[in-house]
Amino acid sequence: MAILEVKGIKKNFGQTEVLKGIGFSVEKGEVVAIIGSSGSGKTTLLRCLNFLEFADEGTISVNGEVLYDGASERQAKKKLKNSDKQLRRKRLHFGLVFQSFNLFPHKSVMDNLLLAPTLQFKKEVRQAKRAERAAKAKLKKAKTEEEKQAIELELKEKTSLDYSCLAEIKEKAAATLERVGLLDKKNSYPCELSGGQQQRVAIARALIMNPDILCFDEPTSALDPELTGEVLKVIRELKNTDTTMIVVTHEMEFAEDVADKVIFMANGVIEEEGNPEEVFKRPKSEKTKSFLASRKNV
């Protein structure tokens, strides 16, 4: 069964039809590259998947569960928009890496990763902290050595249990940073990093939420050519660990090399889709041909 199933997505901005019925599916562990010229609706499509925009029509299903149904949404009059909690749960199926990174500038690299998961487990974390504080206060009051030892033992057991959640998150954050090769920068602030490093942090930040599908919105378009490589390398490595990804990109060689499936979009419709071989070497549509030709001349 496909992990992601998109059917008939339509989206208008005022009078402009941006998406005119997009449908495709993604298998687990598959990497899909979406290519096309500017204004073809690639970014809007990704934003609809992440519920930053709401499609007027069409359905989005993940693992067989219909997350979004444009027609019923319209009937229910923006119901989805209003139920904040539900919306958040649905968003967590997807991760999104932005063109402009959008790291939190006031937080260190580590805290950028930790913020969302700690807020998510806020309750557990608060309980753990409270338990530790209480035990420490008791420790101060303890008179005999025996009493102290007993409390210390209890503290160890209890906090190891309560803290496991927080510790788990921290461990995972460190492991994720390691994966993108930035563990040594964990205490730096985003402003101290290069663009490529910032984008790798952004990827790690998206990964830590365990999304079913990780989306990239032109992840290298804001980067110097020499920094593009390090970001693409990370995406390549993610492919090896069976991460399902949708990558909107202008890097044709990368798309050809990494993608399992390529989707070419033009004027809000999928003009052509298939494996990279077919799309790049033997394009059927005239539009695809002229797009690829214009790319080669650059």
């Binding site: 930053l52 904040d84 958040r88 968003r91 939190f104 500038p105 969302a116 930040r205």
Partner: protein, 220 residues
């Protein structure tokens, strides 16, 4: 009248000035944030009402507002509550200052909040953060850094504006100096009072400089 006697009298007035200043900051900052939410809400009627209110408060003299707060309740309910209460005059002045400064602060907050890029909200949204979490953990910390310079400006103005409270007979430091002037025909305590303001604002300037440097650990 000796220098020490004058200092004592001025200090008692300065205590009132400081209290008025501190309490105004304490109440006006959160109220300013609330007014800011009102003037940026998507609910149009509330937005228009709030903006009209801010327009009136910012568009009329603070001295007039002091009179309104002090006298109008008495005229409406036929009993001068602020004049009869023990600290009534001080409370009336505090209310007027809090409302007035909250409106100025709200505009500073609005400018700060609107300067945060949409990308920050979107990044928080796709990470599953709620609106409240986004505001308090992502937006507000960045807003605070950005609004320190205009805030310090406004707060220093507030120190000096507290002297307006004497129009409803709140005995602040200027009022104390004026009393000495009229009773003992001494001019210099008035200028001496000015030195109090100068020192107070000097300390505030240093404090804001310190906070600004503290928040300089990151750039945007």
């Amino acid at each position: 009248m000796s220098f020490i006697e004058v200092t004592k009298q001025l200090l008692s007035g300065f205590g009132t000035t400081c209290l008025l200043f501190i309490l105004t900051i304490l109440f006006a900052l959160p109220l300013g944030l609330i007014i800011c939410f009102g003037s940026t809400t998507r609910f149009k009627p509330l937005r228009y009402v709030t903006r009209a209110f801010v327009w009136i408060i910012r568009g009329t003299p603070l001295m007039l507002q002091l009179f309104v707060v002090f006298y109008v309740p008495g005229m409406l309910f036929d009993s001068p509550i602020f004049a009869t209460l023990e600290n009534g005059r001080f409370i009336a002045a505090l209310i007027a200052f809090v409302i007035n400064y909250a409106c100025y602060f709200s505009e500073i907050f609005r400018g700060g909040i609107e300067s945060i890029s949409k990308g920050q909200y979107e990044a928080a949204a796709v990470l599953g953060m709620s609106k409240g979490q986004t505001f308090f953990h992502v937006v507000l910390p960045q807003v605070i850094k950005r609004i320190i310079p205009p805030m310090s400006n406004e707060i220093i103005t507030l120190v000096k504006d507290t002297s307006l409270a004497r129009v409803i007979s709140v005995i602040d430091i200027i009022f104390a100096a004026e009393t000495i002037l009229s009773l003992k025909a001494l001019m210099w305590p008035l200028f001496y009072a000015g030195a109090f303001y100068l020192v107070f604002n000097g300390v505030l300037t240093l404090l804001f400089g310190y906070v600004e440097r503290k928040l300089n650990y990151y750039k945007v």
